[in-house]
Structures are given as structure tokens and as C-alpha cells.
């Protein structure tokens, strides 16, 4: 449409292809560069408010990841990043993966069922018989606000301390808190996986616990019958 009437129309004084306004813009037909030179502006240093907002956004992301609401089929923590391998081989580092707690699922949250459509009631863990009766009281699993800008300390998750029906669900932080006392009785209700871990870490951290691995041969009396055979 822009060139209508220009090509065959009256000649103009200017050279170059006819365009909308006259004919003095010469269009370039050479291909443009793929990455032309560009002056990238440099981001200014972040203000305090912005740093805190970023931190809170990342915390929010981490909280949802840790909660039951992160729905994925992949084994968490392993195939999350493409470098991870899901080949079914058991590895030592598996015990440090973020575990889905056995009792914890999407159904543990006290939902307000009037707000959900009936189709989803099964996913909420509400059985049709329960609807009219008062559902079992479940406790909220609360996230705690952490002020520190250091994400390392801030992300002490301590999901170990929380189980279904425990009140005062606060997370164990690396730093001491006033309600650590409250958490002591909660440790009894920890799950078996945690106790298993604690066993290993009783004496010393790390693998090179000499006392645990030392085997002084007192138990090796079962081989008494096999001594007749020559050792090759």
C-alpha cells in the first residue's frame, strides 16, 4: 500500500525509490547484522529495599518448592536440573535429598472446602461422608519470616521438626531462637528416617569414624569350619 501510485506515477525530482513522502529515502537492501553494536546500559547498584524484595521473592519460591504444593513427577532434587541422572542407582547423596515427608501431602492443609469445586474434593482429602461432619482439625504448617540477607543461614529448613498435628511449627534455624525449647518435645515425633540419620552421626560427623568401622575380629568365629580348605 505504501508504494501504491508511486512506481508508475509521475516522476519526481529526487533519485531513489519512491516512498510515501517523496523519493528521497533510499532503503537499504543489505542484510542487517545479527548482533548489531549496542551500548548496554549498566545496572545501578541495588537499593536496600530492592535487595530485600529480591530476597523475599526467592524465599517465597523456596518455600513453595519445599511445601507440598510443588507438584512434579520427577524425583526431586535429582532430575530438577538437567544434569541430574535418574537411573535408579542408589547413591550416598540420596539421603540428603529434600524428602517428601511421609505424612505430608496436599491433603494435610486445612482447606476451606466451600471455596473449592466438588470435583477437587478427592484431591483435598475430603471424603463425601465427611462433608457434612466437621472435618478433622489439621494444623497449618507455617513459614517463618527470615530477615537475614544471607541466604545460607536463612534457609535452615528443619522440616524434621514438623509433623502432622504438632503445634508451634517453627523452623530450626542455624541461629538460636527463643522457642527452641518448644522444639525439644517435638523431636520425639520425628520420623524414622531422621533417627536413622542420627544414628550414623552419633559419634562423629563424616565417614571416617574409626571407632564405628573398627572390626576387631571377635565376631569372626563362623569360619572355623572352612579352614580345612586350602586358600588359593
Amino acid at each position: 500500500m505504501s508504494f501504491r501510485g508511486g512506481r508508475g506515477g509521475r516522476l519526481s525530482r529526487d533519485s531513489g525509490r519512491p516512498t510515501l513522502f517523496g523519493t528521497d529515502i533510499k532503503p537499504e537492501f543489505t542484510p542487517s547484522e545479527l548482533y548489531p553494536e549496542f551500548d548496554l546500559p549498566i545496572q545501578a547498584n541495588l537499593a536496600d529495599f530492592e535487595k530485600r524484595s529480591v530476597h523475599q521473592f526467592l524465599q517465597y519460591q523456596q518455600d513453595v518448592r519445599d511445601s507440598a504444593f510443588y507438584v512434579t513427577d520427577k524425583k526431586r532434587g535429582v532430575v530438577e536440573y538437567e544434569g541430574g541422572v535418574n537411573d535408579g542407582i542408589k547413591r550416598y547423596s540420596d539421603r540428603y535429598l529434600t524428602k517428601r515427608k511421609v505424612g505430608k501431602s496436599v491433603t494435610d492443609h486445612p482447606y476451606i472446602i466451600e471455596f473449592f469445586p466438588q470435583e477437587l474434593y478427592s484431591a483435598l482429602g475430603v471424603k463425601p461422608s465427611n462433608i457434612t461432619t466437621k472435618p478433622k482439625r489439621r494444623r497449618l504448617d507455617l513459614a517463618q519470616f527470615r530477615d537475614s540477607l544471607e541466604q545460607e543461614e536463612g534457609e535452615g529448613e528443619a522440616e524434621e521438626a514438623e509433623a502432622d498435628g504438632v503445634s508451634g511449627a517453627t523452623r530450626l534455624d542455624a541461629g538460636a531462637e527463643d522457642d527452641e525449647d518448644e522444639n525439644q518435645p517435638n523431636e520425639d515425633e520425628d520420623e524414622d528416617e531422621e533417627e536413622e540419620e542420627d544414628e550414623f552421626e552419633e559419634d562423629e560427623e563424616g565417614d571416617y569414624n574409626a571407632e564405628r568401622y573398627f572390626d576387631d575380629g571377635e565376631d569372626d568365629y563362623d569360619d572355623g569350619g572352612g579352614e580345612d580348605e586350602a586358600a588359593y
Binding site: 501510485g5 524484595s53 540428603y96 507455617l142 519470616f145 545460607e152
Partner: protein, 610 residues
């Protein structure tokens, strides 16, 4: 709902809520309104998994549903709501804002975090999940946030889409109007639409009630104004506490209002001065309880009086420091020298002389205003509650705090081009209001100008401003007004045309449309231009976040190691120095890009939501 907004929302969901949630929303955005079976069919994910994924989506109101009770049985359809999902970007800023605004309310940030995580929580559940000492703190924080309307209560209809609600109201209204021979079918529908619109407006504003989610506090031991049996000792209003049965959620509309206030105050401080900006912030704070959302707030105008502002103004702010005394004809010479010496002292003390220099744009207006205000002040002095600390010398314009305040308010209202305030009356020391419609339109223009200056240069911005003022103008006249040769401006105009800032209108002179015999008028359509700019900004946001995800993905080893429980507890010892360096890089990238996203979100707020 644009292509880039959809992309962004899916990217966010995939990263935060998992890939199945992202797939479900992707399907809903591609196909529109779907039932559960159709979602399963199009996305090829089993129904049970979709149900599981829909739970957090419905909880956060990212996906709205509608239950259709017709003869064929119940039918539930789902619709994705990009507006609610886009608000995830503002989540970090929300928590930070609450931290800054209410430093004393210890439980407030926790509440916000939990509401972000869970979408909505019943107040009683929240308080029950904490120890008793924490619960008291939380209760106060909840009440405070509800009073400031940063939290809102939820009703069942807020999980349904607006169009469904409107259709239900419309059908009901239509059925209520009886059919008759005199009234045609079309007229019935028109009337039903009018009534339905009114009812819908009322429905949208049910949370504007001042006592939304609050009930009168029973006799509480913590509240000192109550006597033994719980009857009021003092004559102040009964204190409120949160209603335990209310379901609470975050109010992003109110947060948008607060962000808008921040933007306006920044503009004032850039244009006029810091002290005036502090005064303006106070004006906005006074108006805040009545502002519920940015657009379509309420039909009544909101007025603030000078005395109210003065009462709530921080005592530390030196109002007089930014002002220079005007030599008024009414002053006697001795007092003027006295005053000017005092002002000189103030100048030396405060560094805000620059504020006074460019604070005199419409100096004549200001002079008249100050004299008029001075007259008013003298009249009102008997009635005002604040004592002026100067001697009662009627001919001298005194430097009292009220006067200074009025000077600042006059400064804010004197610029016709950028009317921060408007004076509407005289009682209470002066009544002021803000016309947000014109003000935000002007703010949008300024912001757009600065963006164009960055992209295309100052000459292009000048041309845009000329075209904006003139309406439709052709090249020759434009060159005359801009005092530039036509050949130079042509490239700028075409560049602006390419990014959607300008449009062309052809007016042929004859019956044939030869280009040399037609007029070509350039004009600027604001709403279209802003929409295109918003799209570009959203595209940038998508790219920023995609880059963050990519940078994390480039270091899979370190990132999966960071997810380990033992590493999380003690990063300093568990990572090798090389890994620590990588982590530092990734965290730096995250921080910079997400902070940039929040700055771009400010632009989206200006152009779209304000």
C-alpha cells in the same frame, strides 16, 4: 492477556509451582475455558495428577472455576486468570513494604509470607497453629493489616470469573423484568444490563467497608481503655480485632495504590523538592483509607484539609527550610529584614536550597496565593488549634508551620500541567483533593517521554511532544515548529512509527492517491502506544526471568548440591571454594535480574494498572 504475559506467567509457575501446574495453565491459556476431562485430554496428563495440580492453583486463585448446575448434572469449568498470576512478581515487594511500613508489628511479615504460600487462610486456623504468645502478636498484626486493607476477606464468589458472575446477575435481572407487549425484547435487555452493571459494581466493592473482617473486641485484658466489665472507659471508638471466622487473603489492589503513591512522591521530589515531597506523602497517607483501588475507586471525591495534614505531619520535617520569603508589599522594612535573616539562617542549615530555586515556576500565582492564604490564615487564626509562635503583627506574613504547609500545598497545586493537588474549598485551612485521572495520565506521558528519549534520542522525544500538543500535523509544519530541517526529522519520525509511537493519516487531495498529492499527517495515540510499550516491557521481563532459569540450569551440579539438606544447613563448610564462587555468581545474576524485573514491573504498573 497478551502473548508475553502468558509466557511470563507460565515461566513463573514452572519455576515456583512445578511443571504440572505450568502445563495445566498452559493448556487453559491455549484453549480457553475447559473442564477437567478436556484439560486431561489436551495436555495428556492423567486426571488425578491434574486434580492435584489444580489444588494450589485454585487456592491461590490462579485458576478460577464455575459450576454450572444444569439439567445434565454438575459441570465444572476452569479458566486461568493471568492478572492474579502476574501478581506473583510483586510478592517480594509486598513483604518488603510491610516490613518498612510497620516495623513494630512483629508478626506482620510472617502473615504475608504465609498468605503468599497458602493463598488464603482462615484467621482461626492461623492463630491456632501458633503458640499463645505468638498468637497475641499475630492477632494484633492481623488487625493492623486488615485495618490498612492490605489484607482482605474472601467470599465464595471471588473464586469465580467476573464474566460468569456478571452473566448470572444479568440473567436474574432479565428474568425479573416482566415481558409485556409494550416493552420490546431489546429494551428489556438494555434495562437488565444497566441494572446488572450497578449490582455488579456493588458486588465488586463489598470489601470497601471499613469493618471488613473486623469485629468489636470483647473485653480484652490487653486493652487498657476498658474497665472491669468491658464497658468503655474512654470515649474513643471501641477497638477492633480480627474476625476469627474470616478467610484472609492478600489485597494486591491496595498494594497497587500504595505503589502508585510511592511513584507520585518520587516524581514530586524530583520536580519540586524533598520537603514538598514529604508533605505530599502525608497528603496521600491521609487519603489512603479511602482509596481502595487505582482505577474505578468510588464515586465520591476525597478531600483532605490542611489542618488534618498538619496534625499528622512528622514534627521533624522542617517545612520552612525549603522556602524563600517573598518580599510582600505589606511588610514593613524592619520585619522583612528580620525575616530574611531568619530565612538565611535556615538556608545555611538545610541543604535544600535547590528545592526553593525550582519551586517557583508560576511565581505570580504563588504570590497571589500566598497572600490570599495569608489572609485566610489571619482570619482562621482565632479558630485554629495551633498557636503561631510569632507576635501578632497583622501586616507581616509570619513563618508559622501552618503557613509553610500552605505554601507547600500551593506549590503542589500551582502547576496546571502537572496538577499534584487541587484546591476545592477553604474550610479547615484549605481543602485539597487529587484528581488521579488527569494526574496519572500526565505521569504516563512523562514516563513514556523518558522511555522514548532513552530509545530514540532527545530529538525524537521533542518531536513526539510537539505532535502530542498539535494533534495531527504534517511534516513540513512539524519541521517549521521544531526548527529542524525536514530531512533530519524524517528518520526520527519513521523510527517512532516503527515502535508504534506515531501513526500516519493519509488525506488525499484528489481522487487518485498519488503520494505527492496526499497529505500525510502524523499523530500520536496514547493508549495504543502505551499498550505496545507494555508489551515490550513484558517481553523484557520474560527474557530476564528466562535468563535466571537458564543461568541456574547451566550449573546443575552446584544447584542440585545446594538443594541437599546438609548443604543447606551449612553452606560455608560443605562447598568447595570453586563451588562457592559459582554459587556467588549465580546468586548475583539472580539478584540483578530479579531486581530489574521489579523495576520493569513498575513500568507495567504505570502504563497498565495505574
Amino acid at each position: 492477556m497478551s502473548q508475553y504475559e502468558k509466557e511470563f506467567v507460565i515461566l513463573l509457575l514452572r519455576d515456583i509451582y512445578g511443571d504440572i501446574a505450568a502445563t495445566v495453565v498452559d493448556t487453559l491459556l491455549k484453549y480457553g475455558r475447559l473442564t477437567l476431562q478436556l484439560i486431561s485430554r489436551y495436555s495428556k496428563v492423567p486426571t488425578s495428577t491434574i486434580q492435584r495440580a489444580l489444588v494450589p492453583l485454585v487456592q491461590n486463585r490462579f485458576v478460577l472455576y464455575w459450576v454450572d448446575n444444569n439439567a445434565g448434572g454438575e459441570n465444572t469449568t476452569y479458566v486461568a486468570s493471568t492478572r492474579n498470576m502476574y501478581n506473583m512478581v510483586r510478592s517480594g515487594a509486598f513483604v518488603s513494604y510491610v516490613l518498612d511500613r510497620f516495623p513494630d508489628a512483629a508478626g506482620a511479615p510472617d502473615i504475608i509470607k504465609n498468605l503468599l504460600l497458602y493463598g488464603h487462610i482462615r484467621a482461626s486456623d492461623y492463630l491456632a497453629a501458633q503458640s499463645t504468645s505468638q498468637a497475641v502478636v499475630s492477632r494484633n498484626a492481623l488487625t493492623l493489616l486488615l485495618q490498612h486493607k492490605l489484607l482482605t476477606t474472601l467470599k465464595r464468589h471471588e473464586f469465580n470469573h467476573e464474566s460468569d458472575l456478571y452473566m448470572r446477575i444479568f440473567k436474574r435481572r432479565l428474568a425479573a423484568i416482566p415481558r409485556s407487549k409494550t416493552v420490546s425484547e431489546a429494551k428489556r435487555e438494555v434495562q437488565a444490563h444497566a441494572e446488572a452493571r450497578e449490582e455488579f459494581q456493588v458486588l465488586k466493592r463489598i470489601h470497601d467497608d471499613i469493618n471488613d473482617g473486623l469485629v468489636a473486641a470483647a473485653n480484652t485484658t490487653s486493652n487498657g481503655t476498658y474497665g472491669n466489665k468491658g464497658y468503655l472507659v474512654s470515649e474513643s471508638l471501641p477497638s477492633k480485632t480480627v474476625d476469627e471466622s474470616a478467610v484472609l487473603a492478600l489485597n494486591y489492589d491496595k498494594f497497587a495504590v500504595l505503589m502508585r503513591a510511592q511513584i507520585l512522591v518520587q516524581l514530586v521530589s524530583k520536580r519540586i523538592g524533598n520537603v514538598t515531597a514529604a508533605v505530599y506523602r502525608q497528603v496521600l497517607d491521609c487519603m489512603e483509607p479511602k482509596l481502595f483501588r487505582c482505577v474505578d475507586n468510588s464515586d465520591k471525591a476525597i478531600n483532605v484539609t490542611s489542618l488534618e495534614i498538619l496534625r499528622r505531619l512528622d514534627a521533624d520535617i522542617e517545612l520552612g527550610s525549603a522556602l524563600v520569603a517573598r518580599s510582600s508589599r505589606k511588610r514593613s522594612r524592619s520585619s522583612s529584614s528580620r525575616i530574611s535573616k531568619r530565612q538565611k539562617r535556615n538556608h545555611d542549615r538545610e541543604g535544600s536550597v535547590s528545592g526553593s530555586d525550582d519551586s517557583m515556576p508560576g511565581s505570580d500565582n504563588f504570590d497571589i496565593d500566598s497572600n490570599r492564604n495569608g489572609d485566610d490564615k489571619r482570619g482562621d487564626r482565632d479558630n485554629s488549634e495551633h498557636d503561631d509562635d510569632d507576635s501578632a503583627d497583622d501586616t507581616v506574613v509570619t513563618n508559622s508551620r501552618v503557613e509553610h504547609l500552605n505554601f507547600h500545598l500551593a506549590l503542589l497545586s500551582c502547576n496546571q500541567n502537572l496538577p499534584f493537588l487541587k484546591k476545592v474549598g477553604n474550610k479547615g485551612g484549605g481543602e485539597w483533593t487529587i484528581d488521579f485521572g488527569t494526574l496519572t495520565a500526565r505521569v504516563r506521558e512523562l514516563e513514556y517521554d523518558s522511555l522514548i528519549t532513552q530509545k530514540e534520542g532527545p530529538i525524537a522525544c521533542r518531536l513526539l511532544r510537539i505532535i502530542r500538543e498539535k494533534g495531527r500535523i504534517d511534516e513540513k509544519q512539524l519541521a517549521q515548529i521544531a526548527l529542524l530541517p525536514p530531512k533530519d526529522i524524517r528518520s526520527h519520525l519513521t523510527a517512532l512509527h516503527e515502535i508504534g509511537c506515531l501513526d500516519l493519516q493519509e488525506v488525499p487531495r484528489g481522487t487518485d492517491r498519488a503520494p505527492s498529492r496526499t497529505y500525510y499527517f502524523w499523530y500520536h495515540k496514547p493508549m495504543g502506544a502505551y499498550a505496545l510499550m507494555t508489551q515490550a516491557v513484558l517481553k523484557t521481563i520474560v527474557r530476564c526471568y528466562a535468563r535466571v532459569v537458564e543461568e541456574r540450569g547451566r550449573r546443575p551440579g552446584v544447584m542440585s548440591k545446594l538443594l541437599r539438606e546438609d548443604v543447606r544447613r551449612d553452606e560455608a563448610n560443605m562447598l568447595t571454594p570453586a563451588e562457592k564462587e559459582e554459587v556467588r555468581r549465580v546468586r548475583g545474576v539472580e539478584e540483578r535480574f530479579i531486581a530489574h524485573m521489579m523495576k520493569l514491573d513498575r513500568l507495567v504498573l504505570i502504563f497498565r494498572d495505574m
